[in-house]
């Protein structure tokens, strides 16, 4: 009899699986709930160039300008970084405090916080509004999927990756993407300024 009960409970237990993880929106205490299209739905944890852990959600309320790169990249990334710097230089001074320019590593194995920090210093990007982020391979793959950025490691030191700069509104919704290298940044800059101006 006992055995039967144990057997049932084991079977019943084995039929249970992973339960819905706690809805990430529930934790947020900000006035507005996170919209369905927001990147703040992503539960992933990130580390910045100072080795501090941050959640994407902590960036809520800012206009985000994001690009995915890796610091050892010789070909396209320097040009992408130049594009980002060009965008930064053209932001309205009054609203600049509402904008974060973020470089996300697609090579978290190599791009340790120390490496990111060194890269930031070398590129004069160590202060606000610049931010460098890295996470696990898994989270990075997911984040790229959200941004529709493709990338692949093609050798120990080289990646192929799409060159896309993405703009997010304060709710974390993707509002604009600029594709390609050395393209005209005008529209991107306009969208960022327009969006940043709305923030009180």
């Amino acid at each position: 009899m006992k055995i039967i009960i144990i057997a049932i409970s084991i079977l019943a237990f084995s039929l249970q699986g992973c339960k819905d993880s706690k809805d990430s929106t529930a934790i947020v205490t900000q006035d507005k709930p996170i919209s369905d299209l927001s990147i703040y739905n992503l539960p992933s944890q990130w580390t910045n160039q100072d080795g501090k852990n941050i959640e994407l959600k902590s960036l809520k309320g800012n206009v985000l300008v994001m690009v995915m790169i890796y610091t050892t990249c010789k070909a396209a990334c320097p040009r992408l970084v130049a594009d980002m710097r060009n965008i930064e230089s053209r932001l309205n001074k009054n609203n600049k405090k509402n904008v974060k320019l973020i470089l996300v590593s697609i090579d978290p194995e190599t791009d340790t916080p120390e490496k990111l920090k060194a890269f930031a210093i070398a590129n004069k990007m160590e202060n606000d509004p610049w931010l460098f982020l890295r996470s696990t391979e898994e989270n990075t793959r997911e984040f790229a999927a959200v941004l529709a950025v493709n990338y692949k490691k093609i050798s120990p030191v080289e990646f192929s990756h799409s060159n896309i700069i993405s703009v997010f509104n304060p709710d974390g919704e993707l509002i604009y993407q600029q594709e390609g290298l050395g393209v005209n940044n005008d529209k991107t800059v306009d969208r960022i300024n327009m969006e940043a101006e709305k923030i009180k």
Binding site: A12, G17, C18, D20, A75, A145, S160, S162
Partner: protein, 256 residues
Amino acid sequence: MQKSFFIIILFLAHIGMIRAQESKMVPIKEGSFVPLYGATVKNPIVVKPFFIDVYPVTNREFLSFLKKNPSYNKSKIKAIYADKSYLSYWKTDFDFGSANPKAPVTNVSWFAARKYCECQEKRLPTMDEWEYVAMADEKKIDARTKSEFNKYILSWYEKSKTYENSIGGTFKNYWGVYDMHGLVWEWTADFNSIFLSGESRKDKSEDKNLFCGGASVNATDLMDYAAFMRYAFRGSLKAQYSTRNLGFRCASTKKQ
């Protein structure tokens, strides 16, 4: 009293058996191969030992996942995780309608597929793992040069609505895995690592400009048109997309 217990046990054991059968995994031994596309170098890629589901995930299995994870229901899933075609053939949140319970679940986004595997303590196979398993026919680990094998795959691409068929109806390959070809296309963990010319949403002559690392199409075997189709299809996907002929199965690094 004893009798009813016995019946319950039988019933649960039966469910257990069905589940065990459907989500069964087999080991894949370490090996190396030269993928047909997606690599810039022709060096063989080493695939570490892993485990893969014998069958794609079925409608029935996906339903039981949804019951435990209602936030992935078609009415509740967040737009960032799936587009509007998500589970479009399902009647309601918990009803796949007239669809075959043993047919592969399709119209699932990459996010949902990934979550499903995560909940089984598994993961999606990488593209290299998937291709490695998929190059086997009944007898050989690598049957890619066999014309019969390629003809079989290509003839499937011409058939319609194979997604309505039950799992396990195609051939059992060298590893004991079914339905790698002949049923549905499948998500892989790194589907978004494809670089074919034409991958880009801006398919222009300066396409090379778009990629750090340059042009990446090096077909090691142009004869394998079938593989080209798969890679091109993956290259056209976004993680929120879902289509009627795209399902998935899970893999695992460790034994379950």
